[in-house]
């Protein structure tokens, strides 16, 4: 595999809008290759929209997103899908579809026009089932799984694409805390084992600070701060982006910055 530029995915004065309403405004962003990037920000700040723009799910009003210096709109649909896998916020599985069958759909970008499967498909499906701990679920129907199991299955499908960049929109929402950790561990493992570039929108600030190498804070369609969590997670930055009174302590487990929010009744 060729080594592309250190910032594989990059937004250049990217403007994204829904029905003429600008959500992301002339934004420049570099996603470091082979690292885990978390995008955080308050509700309606445009973080999910930004992810959709990076994932080529939205056409920019102006500006562009580049992959290895090339505008992502110039890629063929399958060519792009071999490089970038996307897990949307609430993916829909057809009723009754089996886990192994859904995961195998991740192989679509590697198939020809008539959908013929390659001999590698079964092995790759088996690898990602093993890696996500879903082997035992292979013959179950997706609709009967728990939220945590289902999310691992969707990640298995994205991993079956064998893309070097994976974009995830709030992969931990609706999961309890132990399943959130399980999922973030799984993504970290994929990052460490295969050098996968992971970009995810996260709600939970302290988990973002703990798992991300690179943190991007979005506020009102612009980047409020970007960099290592230790630089970015300051009381001033987070406080102004989230309109929140807070202090920062060291996470007792990892030493990463930890936000402690302060409500109206607990002010000194």
């Amino acid at each position: 595999m060729t080594r592309p530029a250190p910032n594989a995915l990059r937004a250049v004065s990217l403007t994204l809008a829904y029905d003429g309403r600008t959500v992301i405004d002339a934004l420049d962003l570099e996603i470091p290759e082979g690292r885990i990037t978390a995008i955080v920000g308050p509700n309606a700040s445009g973080k999910s929209t930004l992810l959709r723009g990076l994932a080529r799910l939205m056409r920019p009003e102006s500006g562009r997103v580049t992959l290895d210096g090339r505008d992502i709109r110039s890629f063929g649909a399958k060519e792009f899908a071999k490089r970038v896998a996307v897990l949307p916020q609430q993916p829909i599985a057809p009723d009754g579809v089996l886990v192994a069958e859904l995961v195998a759909r991740g192989r679509h970008p590697h198939r020809g026009w008539f959908g013929g499967r390659s001999s590698d498909d079964d092995r790759i499906v088996a690898e990602v089932l093993e890696a996500t701990g879903t082997t035992a679920l292979a013959d179950r129907s997706v609709s009967e799984l728990s939220g945590g199991q289902r999310q691992r299955v969707w990640i298995a499908m994205a991993m079956a694409q064998r893309a070097d960049i994976v974009l995830l929109d709030e992969p931990t929402s609706f999961l309890d805390v132990s399943h959130q950790l399980e999922l973030l561990d799984l993504l970290t493992e994929s990052n460490r084992a295969h050098g996968t570039t992971v970009v995810m929108v996260l709600h939970e600030l302290n988990l973002a600070a703990r798992y991300a190498d690179h943190l991007v804070v979005i506020d009102d369609g612009r980047i409020a701060a970007a960099g290592e969590p230790a630089e970015v997670m300051t009381a001033a930055t987070i406080g102004s982006a989230f309109a929140l009174d807070c202090m920062v302590a060291a996470d007792p487990v990892t030493g990463s910055p930890m936000i402690v929010p302060i409500g109206r009744f607990h002010r000194a």
Binding site: K78, A93, P94, W113, E130, S141
Partner: protein, 361 residues
Amino acid sequence: MSAGSATVASGPAAEARVAAVASTVATARMRRRRRGTAVVLAVGIVAFAGATASLLLGAAGLTFGDVLSALVGQGSPKSEFVIVRLRLPRITAAIIAGLGLGLGGALFQTTLRNPLASPDILGITGGASLAAVASMLVLGFDGPAVSLAAFAGALIVAALMWGLAWRGGLTGIRFVLVGIGLASIVSGLLGWLITRADVREASEALVWMVGGIGSIGWDELAVSGVTLVVLLGLTAAFSPRMPLLALSDDSARSLGLDATRARAVAIVLGVGLVAAATALAGPVAFVALVAAPIARALVGHGQAALAVSALVGAAIVLVADLVAQHALAGVAVPVGIVTGLIGAPYLLWLIARGNRKGSDG
């Protein structure tokens, strides 16, 4: 709950485990494919049995031998007339209409991800009826010209629906609501046309309102047969995209499918199939609605089951026509009345069940 945590293990042990899982995955896939083949055979046998019974039964009192010799061109003039001019065209029409409606319905329901989104609920077959009846009553058309008008009517309603429902993409629910609205407009206009027609004309128009496959000539069958074969071929070439269309647009796109274009292609194919079937046989009720859910229940596991849907459609029309011809003592009724009697309760059940949870497999 599983321990869940995957291991970054490598080496021969991990490779052996992956190989074992891969062969399990392959075996399960083969098993599903065998089930699919078995279902195709079973539905094919039902359709074949229906067609055979239609050939043999009837007031002409032909024996099995008479039918066979007529089929190979050695029969008496009477048996040849009954078989080659009456019964065989009828069976062929049932097969063409059933295949077109079953497959068209499956394409619609999967593409719009809604079991109610079938071309007969959405007014597309109704558009064909309206255009056929209008061409007869207002323009004085007859014969193949009426079929052509029916084909055009289906396309016009589909185009209107498209124009009204399109908002930079296709969403299933908007399509369904626009379609149901158009269906009631179409049926209102149809009622108005019938009430202002005289009795003789109105009874001729009736077959275009309920669907029937009697008195269809070989030339008409040839035209719709060729149209159907072309559309079947195009749908087969398109079909590898169906599993992705059953996911959301974002998922399909991220797997490298231009979802908007693919949905458009699937709908155009579905409209073509339904228009071809309806131009031949009229709006045979509910076949497009029920064929695909039956097929999916037989095949299981949330697959689009296109081929089985087409075959189920053909089997339904063949068996329903057998019932329409022979079961009701003394009176032969148009096939659409029988399919309507089967289909309407299914529609009620579908609505009552809230069309939320799947129950196949």
